[in-house]
């Protein structure tokens, strides 16, 4: 091969190695791994399955909450929760019908909600305000009416 070709391929492979080392090191040392939650649920019996039979917010510690929210066509149940500023909220969500999205604008809470599965994400709400919760996966005719809020006081 041409000398320039060898240098350039070396550069490409070198760049790849740098990327992989950064991602690998971040995964091992900072525990920066992809989000994942593996838990199944019968999608035809969501309303009867605890804890989704009583969806809503539970306080589990000082400024620590768990929010169980059902995403169904075309609303969130409950549509709105209220927490004090500085709260750490772990969201659990599932769908009794089709695939939905669970996204809180201006945060990294962004989940696919898949019938048959429970999705989960955690966020600390530091700044008070009204956060828009919306469905960001097409779910049917009323998809754009599917939204709610997280009120941080």
């Amino acid at each position: 091969m041409h000398r320039a070709e060898k240098i350039w391929i070396g550069f490409g492979i070198g760049m790849l190695i740098v990327f992989l080392i950064i991602i690998g090191a971040a995964a091992v040392s900072e525990n920066m791994i992809p989000p994942s939650h593996v838990q199944t649920i019968d999608p035809t019996k969501v309303a009867q399955t605890p804890p989704f039979d009583h969806p809503g917010l539970r306080q589990v510690g000082p400024k620590t909450y768990e929010a169980y929210i059902i995403a169904h066509i075309f609303a969130f149940d409950p549509p709105s929760i209220t927490v004090p500023a500085g709260s750490r909220v772990t969201f659990y969500t599932t769908s009794p019908d089709v695939v939905h999205g669970f996204f809180i604008a201006n945060t990294a809470v962004n989940m696919m909600v898949v019938p048959g599965w429970v999705s989960s994400a955690t966020h600390v709400f530091r700044t008070p305000g009204s956060y828009l919760l919306l469905c960001n996966e097409y779910c049917g005719t009323g998809h754009h009416y599917m939204y709610g809020s997280v009120e941080v006081k």
Binding site: M1, H2, A4, E5, W8, I9, F11, G12, I13, L16, F19, L20, I23, G24, A27, I33, P34, P35, S36, H37, V38, Q39, T40, I41, D42, P43, T44, I73, D97, V98, V99, G101, F103, A105, N106, A108, N110, M111, M112, V114, P115, G116, W117, V118, S119, S120, S130, L132, L134, N136, E137, Y138, C139, G140, T141, G142, H143, H144, Y147, S149
Partner: protein, 542 residues
Amino acid sequence: MLAVQVKRENVLVLAHLYFSTVALMIGAVFGFLQALSRAHWASAPVWFDYYRMLTAHGVLMAIVFTTFFICGLATLLTYRAIPRERALGLGWAAWWLMVLGTVAAAYTILNGNATVLYTFYAPLKAHPAFYIGTTALVIGTWLVALDIALNAAWFWRTHRGERLPLVVHGSLCTFVMWFIATIGVAIEMLFFLIPWSLGWTPTINVMMTRMLFWYFGHPLVYFWIMGAYLIWYNIVPLHYGGKVFSDSLTRLAFLLLLILSTPVGIHHEFLEPGIAAGWKWLHTMNTYGVVVPSIMTAFVIFASFEVSAQARGIKGFWSTIRSLPWSNPAFSGPALGMILFIFGGFGGIVNASYSMDAIVHNTMWIVGHFHITVGGPVALTFVGTAYWLIPRLTGRRLWAPKLALAQTYSWFVGMAIMSTAMHWAGILGSPRRTDDVTYVGTAAANAWMGEMHWAAIGGGILFLSIIMFALVAFGTLFTERDESQAIVFAAVDEHAAQTPAFMDRIGSWGLAAIVLALLAYAGPIHDLLSMHTFGAPGMRTW
């Protein structure tokens, strides 16, 4: 005798190119209406809803336009590089199957019975004709793959010790990759969606269908890119009197894309339940592998520019860039596309990084990303090259070359505006695939509505640009005859080094691609099968 043969072959290639053009034109109308509707400039006609238009736009642009163009292109490259008497039965059978499948799926969509978007996520349940039609389209492309493979096999049999022509090597790699990737969607269709939509199975394993879809969904984008690369490597140099800088790098780039395209699909599923973090992480690492063929391609293209300029005594970066034929639409299309691709690459690295993906996933950022990739470099390369191909295939002069030139630049401007606005709206949180994004005037929504206006302006420019393309494409059918324009492919630079023999063994590389795909998917699929999962019944929510 061979001249008659070439004419018959040209008709088949033209059939692919014009079907592709019609898909592009119809898709463009829907795209334009969506942009207007999102910006609240005009609402869609009452008899037609946003999500139905969106499904049609996605299927026609991302699947039909691209696939027909690439099938026509690869068929042409293979036939011309291996001239011989051949029957065209297989080629035409492929085309007809693809057309019938497309018509069945498109009719079902426009009828309102398949408003499931082009990702057709279960348990949204479309009419069976939609699934059967798209499956027929895919099986049609397998016949194209078979046709290319049979011609390559004939070449190997009759030209012992000779190297497969460069364009056939690229076409074959593209279609071997495509075959391996489409097996995923074929299994999804044949074993899950079709029996379920016909009512033979009551429920569906949703996560399995999603994994099979994305097994295919990401290599799909490399299929588009390989189609564009075939042109960048082998046709674009002709326009500035250049050559293929390196035979070996070109072959290696296609081989790397063949093996690296498939074991990466789970990076589309970072935010989904049911897949262990380790598998998502493995696919992230694999995703970055594609850095290597991308960097190589950038190098070979610029090296070819430079070598060609130096041969004419031109030195320096800007002089080299200025010396290129910017007033030839067949060059300006692909070249402007390459500029857009730089930004597409940057965005792709963001999407592949799972922590950043959590901020942009399913927002308008993603829509901006695929418009500046498949709608930018890929589409611009294809329409630009159509200005070179159609006159040569029809034996007629290009109609209104200035209009063609303006088309490529207006597309570039329109796409740059629209895509930038979409990226920015996405960072602000605006969701994709959503009819009305005002959310009763909440502050977050007010912040991104301004971007929707810019997206509509860009979309309007793109719509005009596609009208210009259609005028030139169809106008060229009626211009005076000019049979003197030949179809040749760029020659390899005489200083290029010898290509090692291991690059000729496409079969072994294909096997390696299958092994890598199995290694990447065996774990997550085994997990899904061994867990106690619940099926979901189908639903029609539109």
